[in-house]
Amino acid sequence: MNLTLDAYAHRDSPLHRWEPRCKLVALLVLLFAFAFVRDLRLLPAMLLVTAGLYAASRLPAALLLSRLRYPGMFLLLFALLVPLLVGSTILLKIGPLALYREGLLFLLLVATRFGAILTVSIVLFGTMPFLTSVRALRALGLPEILADMTLLAYRYLHELGRDLRMMQTAMRLRGFQGRAFSPRNLRMPAALVGSLLVRSYARSERVYQAMILRGYGHESACCASTLVPVTRPDLMALVGTLLVATGFVVGDVLLRTGALV
């Protein structure tokens, strides 16, 4: 399992240099504008904006492909069912199967929106270190408890993942196979999950004490001050992205109400 988000966070590109708070606001608004689109005629523009952003981020294409593989399976299931089940206008009929126009168009809309939103979110969180993302979110008003929990959970994901793999290896070395469904094969994984919880709980007690020793709970330097100041190009990029997002929303409303033909 690859749990790292920071593999490409230290490259150099306009998106890497964009101030994190501006980038978060701009790209999150863009994501929602994409989710708003229901008119098929806006899809080429959506793809164009997404491709432009990805190219500007200078992230490798292999990253996008590897990230799209897993959610792609879900989409494939959707693609196999919807065009055959949904709609009234038959495009093609093979034996008992019929391919419907409405289903196909709905699939096209969903798949494009899905791909565009995923790609932009990869650009958003792939072009800055995770710590910076959380700091920027905190500066934008994320509650402190949430920010602390996020960072700590991220810090210990890898270690607990390693603990789990180690315990699973130990189980296999002692002859546990667990391929059939039986009460025992349910009890053993339950004990595994229980042990993992006990381990993480015991570890958290030590972590908490270490944190208190380092002054946790006493307000120190505010996180906002560790972020770089916002410059004019950052703001211009923010305004530009917000305008593009507004364009998608307004364009969709106009196209669907028929004001724009």
């Binding site: 409405e102 929106r113 979110s121 700590l152 789990l164 349910l186 002054g215 006493h218």
Partner: protein
Amino acid sequence: MHLPDGILPVTVCAAGYATGGALTWYALRKINRQANPRARVPQAALLTAAFFVASWIHIPVPPTSVHLILNGLLGVLLGYYAVPAILIGLFFQAVMFQHGGLTTLGVNATMMGLPALLAYVLFRLRFLFGRESRAGTGLAGFLGGAGGLALAVLIFYGLLVTTIPATLDIRMERAAITALALAHIPVVLLEGVFTALVVLFLQRVRPDLLDGASGWTPPVPVAAPDPSLPGIRGADEPHA
């Protein structure tokens, strides 16, 4: 069990953020009212990480295997901290595996977080049987695990049914969705049994973990640092 980006209309995503935000606000308010809200942050964070990796464990159900959702168990063990824990877990899944999504984060957090709180309430039924009763703890664990997942499944399919675009064949799709929801009954039962087994394991090994969600105190009494001592960070600056 997560709704991905791009499928739901944006109104549902926005409503999801509203309900998810309200739920998180409510949970954080409850947390902040505790005597020392930060004391449980490391515990809750590490258990969040533990639940995240525990969801990779597959249970053999021939001919295939299923992975567990564990949102009921999360509610049972973490109480109100389960809501931020689920939000963070879903956020990690969205940014690391593109599982779920950022626009549907609110919807998914509500779908999993609300049932986790229900599981927390259901698990407290064990006090009717007495803290030491194994049968009572097992039964309450089953109810928490099964109830937590059952409510999540109901919300999931409820959302799918109500957001089907009007031009599509609603009758057929509803039938398909109902069939899928019914197919989840064995998974709900399995989740309940599994939660009961984990809870019984913890009762044997670390019973204090089960009491964690209710009336929690730090495991080892650790005094907060005295700000008047030299060398404590922040001691010299005035703060609010």
